[in-house]
Assembly symmetry: C2
Homo-oligomer: 328 residues x 2
DNA sequence: CCCGAGCCTGACAACGTTGTCCAGGCTCTA
DNA sequence: TAGAGCCTGGACAACGTTGTCAGGCTCGGG
């Protein structure tokens, strides 16, 4: 900028004015400055700008895994909202590791992002307290924050799972299996709670062998599914706790002789083209992201003060697999 | 930092030393400083640090659409490499709009990212020349840069498409349709070229009605597919130019009475579970991202100087749909 | 002709950090 | 015991930008 000023024969501040489109510059002067800028290939240094102004016009997004199809649309919708507010998006994957989450979040805070959208991996977020006090807007997504009071936007995991399992029960099933993630993950716990509630509503006692918790990785899901299908009290239907589980269960069921019903939590692409189509409890990732990001910017506006918990409804999409009657 | 220094009763520089783990501080002093840091919830301001040091330890990733399943694994692998180098990832979607691409890239340059990974939307990147000269490491991905000399990492689109079409020809097809994106997109053009080459290799003249170019959006793809299936010279097989096209074509074919062969470019999830399984020419998005990011950091190291074009091989995965014989 | 109002413009400090340099106190050796 | 050398700690400038403020200019009215 110094160079530009020198070349245009004007003061530093005048260049700054031109660069920022501030008023009070003669067209002639502006032309000279613009010319110098082009000639020198000058680009404003936003780091210095941030240092001076205090706002970075960027928000951080910490999620579990960018490669997971659930987070693609979510990131995208957060990005769109950010863009509408002139902000950039910095994002990182925690890989479901609390320590990595904290490391990422603090790195983002050190960058002085204006706000944070966090899909928590850990369950204690007290480390964020100084940042919150310092004015970093924060919205948690998909799972609530631990030990601090903060905005959270999530799906109705409990209600969705309950509805999905009730759907299976309505189609005559009583021996229904549940395969889900580690219950320390909030969504997994809530979906399990929904499963139990639906079973209890119908007065069906749940056998321990019907529930497989903390199961991750295709091989373990496969083993869990096979066990509940061939065990002493074999299930006639399976409720899959998330999209990764659903996919593996589909593979397992395709190998089975008897027809087993399936309802999965989270929609998956092409679910309607499979034979049978996969019935799912769908959540709208884009909507979740948009809602969270909008709340974030309202926090920044000052429009929003009190932390709130926003639960978005899920939708049961029937496509065939959930309507298969029990085979016993 | 000033406050911390005051509270600990030491000089500014000493705090800086503690924060950065520099040697030359007595354990006792360090303890006092650490205590003050904790008490005040101090976090180093990286903007100021960047301003002083010149490096931001962040890289920008500009892609077409974060929500596209092809880019999820790509982003993730870029992120992993960045993480290994202690850098954060800022990313944005160009939505296939050249202007938005430029806007994003320049915003990232203004942030002084150390490097850029760009999946180009436009075909003229001369606007980047001053930045390149200023030392911003840049790697293009998936498509080459326009009018500038820069690193590019991409799949062998030509060879992959040619192989995929040859596969159909080997199974007896002669009337093979091609549905692809706008030929101004490099990948689309290359795949089209591969299609033509395979047809020519087999001595098959291509009817104009077999090629549908610049087709985007499910409705238009659907119409294109239906036209080439029911037209005057109906095709017995379709080569789909990208994953979005493939998905729509699958839907259309599922509604057809006669069996039509299909090979798609890009793998899609659950392709093996469909009836029939979908034969695809797969590219390894994670590998592409990793290769690009590694080149980027080698540019930053100074290990790499001359721009290069790196073509990664594709892989034909046969699952059934591409092995259907012609139905006429 | 003088004065005040209004418009451009530029000098300067400040944002928070780090690199450079120097001072003071200490230990060790001759 | 004096001098050399090391270790610790601090003062200061600089990174590139912007907010503040004041100076100089023009113009119109009295």
């Amino acid at each position: 900028m110094k160079d530009v000023a020198a070349r245009a024969g004007v003061g530093l501040k005048t260049v700054s004015r031109v660069v920022n489109g501030e008023p009070g510059v003669t067209p002639e002067t502006e032309r000279r400055v613009q010319e110098a800028i082009d000639a020198l290939g000058f680009r404003r240094n936003d780091s210095a700008r941030v240092l001076r102004k205090g706002r970075t016009a960027s928000i951080g997004l910490v999620l579990e895994d960018l490669a997971d199809p659930f987070y693609g649309p979510l990131s995208r919708s957060v990005e769109e909202v950010a863009r509408a507010h002139g902000a950039l998006l910095i994002n990182g994957s925690s890989a479901e590791d609390p320590e990595r989450e904290q490391e990422l979040v603090l790195a983002l805070c050190a960058r002085r992002v204006d706000g944070l959208v966090v899909i928590p991996a850990g369950d204690d977020h007290r480390y964020l307290e100084p940042e919150l006090k310092a004015g970093v807007a924060t919205v948690f997504v998909d799972r609530p924050a631990g030990h601090i009071d903060a905005d959270v936007v999530l799906s109705d995991n409990y209600g969705g799972a309950r509805g999905g399992v009730a759907h299976l029960i309505a189609h005559g099933h009583r021996r229904i299996g549940f395969i889900g993630d580690m219950p320390r993950i909030h969504t997994a716990a809530e979906r399990l709670r929904g499963y139990r509630a639906a079973m209890e509503d119908a007065g069906i006692p749940v056998a321990g062998s019907w529930m497989s918790l903390g199961v991750t990785g295709p091989e373990r899901v496969r083993r869990a599914a096979e066990e509940m299908l061939t065990g002493p009290d074999p299930v006639t239907a399976i409720f899959a706790g998330n999209n990764r589980v659903t996919v593996t269960v589909i593979r397992v069921l395709a190998e089975q002789a008897r027809r087993v019903a399936l309802v999965g939590f989270d929609d998956i692409e092409l679910a309607d083209l499979l034979q049978p189509g996969v019935t799912v409890v769908a959540q709208d990732a884009a909507d979740i992201g948009r809602t969270a990001a909008e709340r974030l910017f309202r926090q920044l506006d000052g429009t929003l003060v009190t932390p709130e918990r926003i639960e978005l409804p899920t939708r049961l999409i029937t496509r065939g697999s959930g309507e298969i009657p029990p085979a016993d």
